[in-house]
């Protein structure tokens, strides 16, 4: 798992460099965010080759439409992860992908991936495993559905069989707990 030197910049520096179309910005962007983005894509698309293609598409799209990003509207990662998630969801809902994956249960993907791949070790997040205990199962499942599986909250309400309002409250409570945890 140990990697060669990775380029890391502050978010402000990175945004500036990307805006100036500097070559080093691409490498920094990849080194800083590829694993986080790939984690999200992999949870939506289990097939490794397809997930890798989507990661590439994501970076191409980030690069090509970077002018559409505005730092005032939010953080860079939020913008990027929405691009990645939308590409992955478009893919998984496309006709040919559905045909080739007819027998795969979407439900099993998260645990399947967790068993198969190691998440990245990050010293800043030591003790993070307590998080699993912090979130109640229903809070965890709503985050998994909306954040990692690309459900809209309407679809998630349908899937979990609870009213829309409950979904919204539950999602908010879950994120509140995450905030408390990460602070």
């Amino acid at each position: 798992m140990s990697k060669k030197r990775k380029i890391s910049l502050s978010e402000e520096e990175l945004v500036l460099a990307l805006g100036n179309r500097e070559k080093i910005a691409i490498e920094a962007l990849y080194d800083m965010y590829s694993s986080s983005l790939y984690g999200v894509i992999s949870r939506i698309i289990t097939d490794t080759a397809t997930a890798e293609d989507l990661l590439q598409e994501t970076f191409v799209k980030i690069w090509n439409s970077f002018s559409a990003y505005s730092a005032e509207k939010g953080r860079l990662f939020t913008w990027m992860v929405n691009i990645a998630r939308n590409l992955a969801i478009d893919k998984i809902r496309s006709k040919d992908f559905k045909n080739q994956n007819k027998n795969q249960e979407l439900e099993n993907n998260v645990t399947f991936i967790d068993e198969r791949k190691n998440t990245v070790y990050n010293p800043e997040l030591l003790g993070i495993k307590d998080l699993v205990g912090t979130l109640k199962p229903d809070q965890r499942s709503i985050i998994e559905l909306v954040y990692f599986k690309g459900y809209t909250h309407v679809e998630a309400a349908d899937e979990l069989g609870v009213p829309l309002g409950t979904i919204k409250t539950r999602l908010r409570m879950a994120i509140m707990l995450l905030r408390k945890h990460f602070n």
Partner: protein
């Protein structure tokens, strides 16, 4: 201020961060954030926590993917005037070179297979026709071999007649009906064999409805020893007749084709006694 708190608690901000809002809601949230620093701060908090959560769930992509993705971005760079010198020949171009290569390879492989198949079929056909020829030759050799074997055994029998001391030769003389007729019979009582010499046969030629019949007279009873023809086509030198151990005399009569049960006495052409 109450409005803002209720707005934050509605959960719309979380959905906004997750990209799960309608375009109108999106504009509304952005307007609220611009107007109220508290909402802006709240959004930032949510974003940071989700980013941390994503980092916690990060999966390291394969090492070679970095090169692939970076080079594909560098190729995109070529469009930008700032980077239009060398990145031309990286990445995608290599990929486009590889594809027709494999395509060509399969094309050639397929053509080679086809050619090989045609050659094999041609070889098979020629081998098969050679085999047929050989079979025909073997059949004709076998039949001529049989013919030779038959001839050899026949000559062997004739040779016996000449060398075997037990054979007696009897010249049957013509009767009144046909005084010029003459037939030589060779007979071995020990080996019970009777031969007639066709070369020295002197009888009138028989027609298609009649045949000569050889008789052995035992006591006074005639016993048929088979029929034969006087024909120019028959080239055999001697003919073996049916066997008999006893004979006082031999006679030949002209009978209807196929022979008779008893001799027609007025048709007797030759007769000889021991």
């Amino acid at each position: 201020m109450e409005d803002i708190k209720a707005y934050m608690e509605s959960g719309i901000l979380e959905l906004y961060i997750l990209g799960d809002v309608t375009p109108e809601e999106k504009l509304q949230v952005e307007a609220m954030a611009a107007k109220h620093p508290a909402i802006k701060a709240e959004l930032d908090e949510i974003e940071r926590s989700m980013e941390a959560y994503a980092r916690e769930n990060a999966i390291e992509p394969a090492d070679d993917l970095r090169e692939r993705i970076l080079s594909s971005l560098v190729t995109n760079f070529a469009d930008d005037r700032a980077f239009n010198k060398e990145p031309e020949e990286t990445g995608a171009k290599v990929v486009t070179m590889v594809q027709p290569k494999t395509y060509k390879f399969y094309k050639y492989a397929f053509a080679a297979c086809l050619a090989l198949l045609l050659v094999s079929i041609a070889a098979l056909i020629s081998t098969y026709s050679k085999l047929q020829d050989s079979n025909v030759q073997i059949a004709s050799l076998r039949s001529s071999n049989d013919k030779f074997a038959k001839t050899a055994s026949f000559y062997h029998g004739e040779f016996d007649v000449v060398t075997d001391a037990s054979f007696k030769f009897l010249k049957l003389q013509g009767t009144k009906k046909s005084p010029e007729s003459q037939i030589t019979v060779a007979w071995s009582p020990v080996r019970k064999k009777v031969w007639i010499d066709l070369r020295s046969l002197k009888v009138p030629a028989n027609d298609d409805t009649h045949q000569y019949q050889l008789w052995a007279l035992i006591g006074n009873k005639p016993v048929s020893l088979g029929v034969f023809d006087k024909s120019t086509a028959d080239t055999a030198a001697m003919k073996e007749m049916q066997s008999t151990a006893l004979a006082d005399a031999f006679a030949v009569t002209l009978e209807p084709r196929g022979g008779s049960v008893s001799p027609t006495m007025d048709q007797m052409v030759v007769l000889g006694k021991f």
